[in-house]
């Protein structure tokens, strides 16, 4: 099976059998019996300082093995973001967290930990710890945190609470605005904090072995985690070993190092005894990461024909108590704004990332673009409505076109399917008919259709040079073992990596086995699952390694057969001559390579591919909804996503991944929101009060693709993992605008907000 047949084929997932039979082992499933259990004591204030902490009662409890507090841990500040390390200190992530923190920066901050023989004992011990705080008023919003008298959360890092700011401008904004006859709109668009809600909670266990600290963890980024655990504990990185088994979803939350350094430290303090640290769902909500709430003050100037003349946009990103991915997210959002639409005359953007006393914002599926897309595509419909234009027409007039090159990053549009995606979505959604049909409605139930478009960068270059390694090892039976540092996190990575390996080597798909678990002592280096990079970046490493392996196979065969390696081909399980005549099977070749009587060579290939390239993926969403005005409810009737992700490696898995993104986008649009009380405590940090859509809240999900061939992708492919979650919320918001004439500028579009707005507008 060569490249032609296996790329683009919907082979079943290679991990599906394990996952439907219960054979798949996730982190907690692997923890040895008898492991000690750790529990964390979290602060009960959002802003302040731990003055005193009394652990005597806890430490005296039978079954308690260890109690540590914020006053015991090493004074090492470390970064947690799952970015590749930068050798330039200016580009390193902000190191603002300690294993346990006496300076409390959010409600739930980690201030002490207990290790005990079982969870009940550990929990009782946590409850027995007495804490005395010095309490400060919490800054729960960007406005509060930026106030002149606000107390800085991290004075050693930034004197105010502005972690970072940057601006960008092109053209002469003042001159552009002065053009007569322009429509000027100013809107403030707000997005809310939401969470990933991977169903497997954050979990790890740690033990000492071979002079190393081993952490088995549910992570997207084992090799990055090794570095961060080393940094946090002040250990040489080679003394840290991370093992990543099957993973119950990530979506970016596990592109951060969570409790693994603390877990490693607790085991270390207990001379390497095995310690299990399972976060409860409530802890996952309150204390891991979330998608940044970003507010956009958005000015746009357009001509009556819809031409976007100029924009002036300021964005404020609510960071929470610790930097995590920090400014990278809102920076990505503002870059998106200039990529998806181009202004004829001028653009100015400004962005701030601001520390607040709330849970830390980090990476979440789309990395700033769901927020940016909400702002950009709300404005497009607001302009269209004000100018009496069709929403598609105004987009087509202003959106990215082939040949575009981002003026800042230099990323070029190397393949372009955006216009075709829109065309396809327009047909599938019956856009033209429904726009007319729903134009004039009255009564309590109204329908609408809306759409939104996006572009998405596949990897992270030129922020950092992308790098990935791949190793292929020939087995004794002529099959192949594939080792990667890239991670399967549920997206189907293992399956498409095998498809790529089959295409790259010519060895049948069924004859290649993947080592799904990453063990940083064994797995080749790869920074892991984030951005939408693995099929792109790791794919290049697979392709390169496959070529190397073929050369080695042919060289060995040529030596054995006494022929010219350049004349050999691989066909199925046979090495054949240029004329196609079978010469030797791979199985026989392998037997000889391992067990030959006069010569032996263990045939392996390993290569690093660095990727100094990037490319734009595209897509759109069309959403049809029904609004029940008196009850403030939006019922999505149909959600259609059309994506240009280049060549699809596995169309069935690609479609499945889009479904998941659509569902996540629906939650973002309609119901999900992390709510904090006036003290900074998360009110709804559980799966009952946080409204993740159930099957009954989900409409039929419809997916289509426009397959372009991207010249920079290893197999013509580009980003797919994150994009599906991006355009759904603005599409639904615009459908609501169509149905009711009410422009809602704040997410989520939940009933309480809608009823208030409908009442204000006299609709009910």
């Amino acid at each position: 099976m060569g490249e032609e047949s296996i790329i683009g084929k919907s082979v079943p997932r290679v991990d599906a059998l394990d996952k439907v039979t219960g054979a798949a082992r996730y982190t907690a499933d692997l923890c040895p019996p008898g492991a000690l259990v750790a529990r964390i004591l979290h602060s009960s204030i959002a802003n302040g300082r731990v003055k005193r902490i009394d652990t005597a009662a806890a430490a005296a409890m039978p079954g308690v093995e260890l109690v540590v507090t914020c006053f015991d841990v090493p004074d090492i500040a470390f970064p947690t973001a799952g970015h590749p390390w930068s050798v330039e200190s200016a580009h390193q992530d902000v190191a603002d967290r300690r294993l346990l923190n006496s300076r409390v920066r959010y409600f739930g901050d980690e201030i002490a930990a207990v290790v005990a023989v079982d969870e009940v004992t550990a929990e009782r011990a946590c409850r027995a710890i007495e804490v005395e705080y010095e309490e400060y008023p919490p800054c729960l919003t960007v406005e509060q945190a930026m106030a002149a008298d606000a107390m800085p959360l991290h004075p050693e890092i930034c004197p105010s609470n502005v972690l970072k700011e940057h601006s960008y401008s092109s053209g002469d904004l003042a001159a552009a605005q002065a053009e007569p006859g322009l429509l000027h709109l100013h809107r403030v668009y707000r997005t809310q904090p939401v969470q990933h809600c991977h169903i497997e909670p954050a979990v790890s266990f740690a033990y000492g072995e071979g002079g190393k600290i081993v952490v088995v963890s549910a992570t997207q980024i084992p090799h990055i985690m090794r570095r961060v655990v080393g940094q946090a504990l002040g250990l040489p990185w080679g003394q840290v070993r991370i093992i990543k088994p099957y993973l119950g979803g990530g979506f970016g939350n596990r592109q951060d190092v969570l409790y693994e350094p603390l877990n490693a430290y607790l085991s270390q303090r207990l001379n390497g005894r095995c310690v299990l640290l399972e976060a409860s769902r409530e802890e996952v909500f309150a204390c891991t990461r979330q998608r940044h709430a970003i507010t956009f003050s958005y000015h746009a100037w357009a001509r009556p024909d819809g031409t976007l003349v100029a924009r002036d946009i300021t964005a404020w990103s609510q960071q929470g108590g610790y930097a995590s991915h920090g400014h990278a997210i809102v920076a990505n959002a503002t870059t998106f704004l200039r990529d998806i639409y181009q202004d004829e005359q001028a653009l100015a953007t400004k962005a701030y990332t601001v520390y607040t006393n709330t849970g830390a914002g980090g990476a979440m599926r789309g990395y700033g673009i769901p927020q940016g897309c909400f702002a950009a595509d709300c404005m497009m419909d607001d302009l269209a409505q004000a100018l009496g234009l069709d929403p598609i027409l105004i987009r087509e007039k202003n959106m990215m076109r082939p040949g575009f090159v981002d003026p800042g990053t230099g990323i070029a549009c190397q393949s372009y399917g955006l216009a075709d995606c829109i065309r396809r979505g327009r047909e599938l959604s019956d856009w033209d008919r429904l726009r007319r049909a729903y134009a004039q409605q009255s009564g309590p139930l109204r329908r609408g259709i809306g759409m939104a478009i996006f572009t998405y960068k596949t990897g992270v270059y030129p922020i950092s040079l992308e790098t990935a390694s791949c190793r292929m090892v020939l087995n004794q039976d002529g099959t192949l073992q594939l080792h990667l540092g890239a991670t399967e996190i549920g997206q189907g990575g293992d399956t498409v990596f095998l498809q790529m390996a089959s295409a790259a080597t010519g060895i049948p798909f069924a004859d290649i086995h993947i080592v799904s678990t990453q063990d940083t002592d064994i797995a080749p280096f790869d920074t892991g699952a984030y951005a939408s990079r693995q099929t792109y970046v790791t794919g290049k490493a697979i392709k390169k390694t496959g070529g190397l392996l073929r050369e080695k196979l042919f060289a060995y065969a040529a030596r054995l057969l006494g022929c010219d390696a350049a004349q050999l081909q691989l066909c199925g399980r046979q090495i054949v001559s240029a004329a196609g005549e079978p010469l030797i099977s791979l199985a026989d070749l392998a037997q000889n390579a391992f067990y030959g009587l006069d010569y032996s060579e263990h045939i392996t290939a390993e290569a690093t591919s660095h990727c100094a390239d990037n490319t734009f993926a595209f897509g759109c969403c069309f959403a049809e909804i029904e609004v029940d005005l008196p009850l403030g409810r939006i019922r999505p009737l149909k959600v259609i996503n059309v994506h240009d992700s280049g060549v699809l490696i596995n169309p069935q898995l690609a479609e499945a991944q889009v479904h998941g993104g659509q569902s996540m986008g629906l939650g973002y649009a309609l119901s999900e929101e992390m709510l904090y009380d006036e003290k900074g405590r998360l009110r709804n940090g559980n799966l009952l009060d946080y409204k993740l859509p159930t099957a009954l809240d989900t409409p039929p999900l419809c997916v289509d693709f426009v397959q372009t061939v991207d010249p920079s992708g290893p197999f013509g492919n580009k980003a797919l993992g994150e994009p599906p979650a991006i355009p759904v919320a603005p599409a639904i918001r615009n459908a609501l605008l169509h149905a009711t004439g009410v422009a809602v500028d704040e997410l989520p579009l939940e009933p309480k907000r809608l009823v208030r707005l409908f009442q204000e507008r006299g609709l009910i």
Partner: protein, 161 residues
């Protein structure tokens, strides 16, 4: 404190000394190694720990192990036939790409096994209702619904032929 209970798990009679504080999920996972029973919330909100108790889908995280005395428990580990062949639901989940991260999968499969065992047809909306006690973040439920529908149809066809 321990109590002795007698129960049948995946067709096999068991006598177990269980901690009175343990949930059924705890005992299945830790004492019997049935780690398909996942813990996603521990309060009956996500459905990842769903098993069949006397044929009914139940959240095993909210079910005390001592209550399982005298009952029959089925988990995903008990679905495969002796010859290794898969249950129609398991097959359908693979064929329809209803599996992604796989963490919610065993629980949903158990609800689906009960649905398929009912021996009747379901509308898509009814299936949504029957599966609404499970949260999945990867699939948007679309392929899961397809898989369950396929398993229902195949099982009905086999029964009638």
């Amino acid at each position: 404190m321990l109590q002795i209970i007698h129960l049948t798990v995946n067709g096999r009679a068991q006598e177990l000394a269980v901690d009175i504080r343990a949930s059924l999920a705890d005992v299945l996972r830790r004492q019997l190694g049935l780690t398909s029973v996942k813990k996603g919330c521990e309060v009956g909100e996500c459905g990842a720990c769903t098993v069949l108790i006397d044929g009914r889908a139940v959240d095993s995280c909210l079910y005390l192990a001592v209550w399982a005395d005298g009952r029959e428990i089925l988990t995903v580990e008990g679905l495969r036939a002796g010859d290794g062949s898969l249950h129609p639901v398991q097959r359908a989940f693979i064929e329809k790409a209803a599996v992604q991260c796989g963490f919610c999968t065993p629980g949903i499969i158990m609800s689906a096994v009960e649905i398929v065992g009912a021996g009747r047809r379901y509308t898509r909306e009814e299936l949504r209702r029957e599966l609404s006690g499970h949260l999945c973040r990867c699939t948007g439920y679309e392929n899961i619904l397809d898989a369950v529908q396929q398993a229902v149809e195949q099982t009905l066809q086999q029964a009638s032929s």
